[in-house]
Symmetry: D2
Amino acid sequence: MENLNIVNDDLMIEIMGKPGIPSPMNLSTEQNDGIADYVRDDETVLLESDRNVILEYVKKNEPLLAFEKAGPRQTIYYKPEQVKVAIVTCGGLCPGINNVIRSLVNELYYRYNVKDILGIRHGFAGFIPRLGYDPIVLTPEIVKEIHEKGGSILASSRGPQDIGEIVDFLEKRQVNILFTIGGDGTLQGAYEIFKEIRKRKRRISVIGVPKTIDNDIAYVHKTFGLETAFSVAAQAIRSAHTEAVGAPNGIGIVKVMGRNSGFIAANAALAINEVNFVLVPEIPFDLEGPQGLFSLLEARLKLKHHAVIIVAEGAGQNYVTSKDKDASGNVKLGDIGLFLRDAIKTHFKKDSDLDANIKYIDPSYLVRAVPANAHDAIYCIRLSQNAVHAAMAGKTGLLVGNWNSQFTHVPLKLATSQKKYLSPEEPLWLSVIEATGQPNIIKNE
Amino acid sequence: MENLNIVNDDLMIEIMGKPGIPSPMNLSTEQNDGIADYVRDDETVLLESDRNVILEYVKKNEPLLAFEKAGPRQTIYYKPEQVKVAIVTCGGLCPGINNVIRSLVNELYYRYNVKDILGIRHGFAGFIPRLGYDPIVLTPEIVKEIHEKGGSILASSRGPQDIGEIVDFLEKRQVNILFTIGGDGTLQGAYEIFKEIRKRKRRISVIGVPKTIDNDIAYVHKTFGLETAFSVAAQAIRSAHTEAVGAPNGIGIVKVMGRNSGFIAANAALAINEVNFVLVPEIPFDLEGPQGLFSLLEARLKLKHHAVIIVAEGAGQNYVTSKDKDASGNVKLGDIGLFLRDAIKTHFKKDSDLDANIKYIDPSYLVRAVPANAHDAIYCIRLSQNAVHAAMAGKTGLLVGNWNSQFTHVPLKLATSQKKYLSPEEPLWLSVIEATGQPNIIKNE
Amino acid sequence: MENLNIVNDDLMIEIMGKPGIPSPMNLSTEQNDGIADYVRDDETVLLESDRNVILEYVKKNEPLLAFEKAGPRQTIYYKPEQVKVAIVTCGGLCPGINNVIRSLVNELYYRYNVKDILGIRHGFAGFIPRLGYDPIVLTPEIVKEIHEKGGSILASSRGPQDIGEIVDFLEKRQVNILFTIGGDGTLQGAYEIFKEIRKRKRRISVIGVPKTIDNDIAYVHKTFGLETAFSVAAQAIRSAHTEAVGAPNGIGIVKVMGRNSGFIAANAALAINEVNFVLVPEIPFDLEGPQGLFSLLEARLKLKHHAVIIVAEGAGQNYVTSKDKDASGNVKLGDIGLFLRDAIKTHFKKDSDLDANIKYIDPSYLVRAVPANAHDAIYCIRLSQNAVHAAMAGKTGLLVGNWNSQFTHVPLKLATSQKKYLSPEEPLWLSVIEATGQPNIIKNE
Amino acid sequence: MENLNIVNDDLMIEIMGKPGIPSPMNLSTEQNDGIADYVRDDETVLLESDRNVILEYVKKNEPLLAFEKAGPRQTIYYKPEQVKVAIVTCGGLCPGINNVIRSLVNELYYRYNVKDILGIRHGFAGFIPRLGYDPIVLTPEIVKEIHEKGGSILASSRGPQDIGEIVDFLEKRQVNILFTIGGDGTLQGAYEIFKEIRKRKRRISVIGVPKTIDNDIAYVHKTFGLETAFSVAAQAIRSAHTEAVGAPNGIGIVKVMGRNSGFIAANAALAINEVNFVLVPEIPFDLEGPQGLFSLLEARLKLKHHAVIIVAEGAGQNYVTSKDKDASGNVKLGDIGLFLRDAIKTHFKKDSDLDANIKYIDPSYLVRAVPANAHDAIYCIRLSQNAVHAAMAGKTGLLVGNWNSQFTHVPLKLATSQKKYLSPEEPLWLSVIEATGQPNIIKNE
């Protein structure tokens, strides 16, 4: 996290008012009594973890930036029996959405005795009465088995809706707590809803649970679903490798999700370490020229007679520009996978004496429409528990994140101020370079 | 198997000569002594299994058609210590190839003391010295762990090679037994090799192990790899269904392998019974018109708000004609998957008031580049054991098949005389119709 | 099926009365019109499939034994709108029970317009009002997603209940069709219910769907769940092998289900061909002596330094006799797995110079409490479709089976007259012997 | 990490001498040039991450404790062409050992041009010539496919060997770098080896890669294999739950690994959130009495009619004391799983009116003898890369760890000074309490 142009105030969490109700959770406030403890508002997680960097701040008398730590508070703000909750899931599917829904419901119901929970159907569209998606009532019975299934039992939709109408709905239905499960666009929406609520001076907490298979939420170490996604993507790499070695001069190409960030691609390449070239949106590459992909690929084939490439959908967009946008306003990406497949085929037909056999795999929705794996299932439960703690404590305008293996509160304003990218200078990418043997840069000069 | 225009002679198995060497396998010739038995050449498996059909034949004094039964013979033809074996794998990859290679080697080595085994690399190309693919020596040590891996350790290639050159290789290397693992084209090749050997009057047995993920070998109930393939394809259906229910008016489309036959599609549709329309090469369908797919799809969406379609790659080729051929001489198919995706999208945009969300999944090589599942692993072992028994007994010009749950010998001539198709009148398709609820015919009139 | 002491009458299927209602299924009666066909009552599947055996029967003028073929009849017996169905699941869990429940419901509901379906809870106990397990109403909505889950949504229980009370329930609730999903004991119960109904002259069809993970139902080629079970068991073998090779003189022992029959053990040993000794209930073995297991094991360790044993729970019961019975009246087996583990440990400590490392794995319920795999899922759908066809046609006192890859009707009387065992002389066991290299007999003299 | 009685010196890393050779890795020393960077020795990872704790230290003028950061150094100590490496794997198997072996070999070979690598067989026993386990030569070709397999290609063994003899071996074979892959005992051994080398004044780096499925290494956030282990254990929970709901008053009990720590149990309980009671070694519990397990279990059954318990093998040892030790000197644990099964059975038979059905599952080696999942595979690669960097830089007497999501160097002395336990006051256990609903304490009073 270099070049943080933020100040400590950017990390402050807004609250509805002073909490005055004892938590029903019956935890301890003492350490070392063998009983789990409440978390205080002054417990934090530092953004930086390098000693010299910290000492430098201290020396310069600059504040140490830190996230508020998530967890159950001893005193809560909302009276459980008066609380009405709404849960909405937006954007593309992602492994773990149902786990989050289930855990939110169970935590509210069993730990806080909150029993009035609405499930909003089809994303923000479900708040707009004229679209006809009536909400459903969520109970532990209804969510009992949903954690074993992919998708979202509430279903989703893309695209924004009128913020005023959404807040009208919340007011009319007397909702006090809104949980939004979604990615970048959803968090933007949640932030707008939060601001509109503030403008109207209502007591409605807005808590985001960041969901993006691309892992591109700033100030959040990892989003749920990523682990499941790259686990499935890794299987595609295994198959691409099998196909590549199974044919003379075989080239396996796997395209994976990752519109703006290469986290799925990078992790999958490490998970099945059979990849020779990882192409991600953050790092441009050339096809032609002595340092371009074609030359490297040809050299690899001559040496080993097969090669495997993994490409994130957002990589190399300079080769496949497009101007279309989808319903959420995202630029429609050109299909770099099919482009690469054809370009490599053409290259080897025209400009090489090698007769390459290209095997293209696009697992597309297969990496995201699956149930959460064990890792993500655990992560989803813990995110949800902390989201409920934050909400019940009267906090608002935040998302529940994770930093240095600890759960945190991140202001929506901050989290939506930028995207997270995979930096070529962070250790993850270094590991990729080391494990694949690909050059630091696939570019001429 | 209606309309069998074959006679009993078509089922006769050619032999090298009278077997005169006692089998080293030490089995029994007596029933009910608690020890596994040798199989006699006069043991058979009837093609027909309906009593009335059989009685009709008897009444008309017509011969009852039957396959020779596979299994270990009490007397074998080849002297184990003089036997040299070659194994070749051709065509596309398929789950189980390595299991077959491993079992052939182990069976030869441990049961028959045959220790001289060549693995031919890259299909028939490996027989052609100037192409430079030297064979490798196969031992139990080398094949020890290959059954856990997809692909073929011998690799493969497409396309025919000069039959004379192949037989030259066999002669020069003093091969007595050739096992060819491959599909339609490979079996054709094996049959040509067999005929050339016969012409040259050499003592070289040619034994086919039928490998086609499409399950389209005539007179063989099931080919290995099919079960694994449809198991993986079923996961794609699960994901397509998850995506379809996760979006308003979601339509999940899954394309699976099946150039000429719909066995993968039909089985996968039963394995995850969430499919509404199964489109296979054998059964034509209309898109437009009151009984066409578009109308049915629209009705389904109006009723249930989501739909899932599975389409075999060879289905609906009238919509996507092509004239190109691949290296094996197969007509290159038009891409019915992408065509359907776009045609359905266009239809709902132009001709419908429904705003459909289309989710397209093409698992492509993912269904075949995986290790054999338990079912196929067992099937591969048993096919291979029987292939070795047939070879050692001096039989030739046959493939090892399976009929009515029993292993059989099928003359290559017969097996290559036609392809197997999924008939709309066989029980499997009836089950599909019942389980999906799709009409018997998706055609107007 | 040698030594069949049965006559053709034993294969006759009882009917309620002459079917007089046209089937709503809208199939064809003509071959080769491209539309799936009804099945006639005179279509059959021969028990024998060897030509010479058949010709011998013909020569001797003996009848050819054949099962009635299952499938949709053109004319049915019950009026759909008057039909009330009950479904009960008994005995131990088995992969696929939920698939069967779901397919029965869907087939009845969508193909025959039968909408009145009761799910009996906790096995036969659910028929006994005083036990307090009220039945639930089954609809397509309720069974929508159950095929993806292990277990039984109706739950189960062991042990018989009073047959009179069960039939009282059926009468009182005006049930016309009873589907019993269960194994040996359940089929016995179903047969008693069938006889009691016949005595009372009621119009209630009793149709069994054979469920036994042990695959020990006579006259049925394979029961559902077996394939899933041995697939999971095979994973335990893989782990046992990994452990065995990971330690000096490692011996991996895997115990699997199989009270009276060794089908899971035999198939699992072929599925992961890393097993050296397969011990099944049907084939006795010695531990001591020159041909006993200990000697063979020691020889194996000296040669290869590791070994893997798979043992069915019912094997070697002479070593671990017990007299207890469970609630269903089955003799409680002694634990051959733990016994073997300790006996082998003791042997190598006392009577050998080898320092063996024993790794024992008992996957127990893991092999059966899982969802059906693709193979079993397909099999369950097709069994269920045929069970519904049989019931609607007014047939009774039968189970739906499979013979020579075709679905059949088997009289309950016949199916319960004996158990099925794995014969050491059938091809499956031969394959095991060949694949493992174990001697035909592990006994002294 | 409360009560750290350590000082900064305890975190200092020993080096062989001043590195003077430029790294062949060709990385950058500049930030923001788009090229991955070398790591400097003064880069650190703070042990504490709470702002107030840190400020307190600063205020008190106490040093901030921090780990040295792992990663490639710009200057290395060993000349690649002179380096000889030995790799040894000790103790129980664990998912990922082969991944570590493979990555060590590949990183040494391809990134540092170190080509002389020995694989020591069967743990420390492989260093002792008279035991006859000759080492094998490791090359990229040999390790090519081992990452897809469970176990260890080097195999393992338990128990210590004479430290002097081990160092004799290293000297005699001119080894410069020793990588030990193992848990607590192995790290103790590595530390002794390191001290003996120091005593003899040899230039041999000793680098530990911590391997313990129990995750009980102090100062290391997570050990490899844990994630795979609890993923598999979670499947056992799923089955136990299926069995529990499938029988009247069903109780599913799952025993998992965890001799001294409950990390597998706790994580598995979150991964499949169907568990009601989690019993771990760190937290004592009563069986009898009003707050004991039996009472809680009975209350649960009365409410929900089924229950699931997961118990770590080291839990409740007060109930099953033993005095035996294994070859590594670990106390042999009493079998708490079988004890619980029987004790609960007896309780419900004698002291309760409920007729409980107990289903016991002990997946034992199934959780550890499997290949690493994607998460662990990535973790293993990255641990290994950093282990090689540390070794080549001339560091010694350390293990490669992970703290706050960053890779670290931890002195062996420190890491072996204590074990890591799951604290009832850390957030993970709080999540377990929340997700299961079990009381904070299952004890009377």
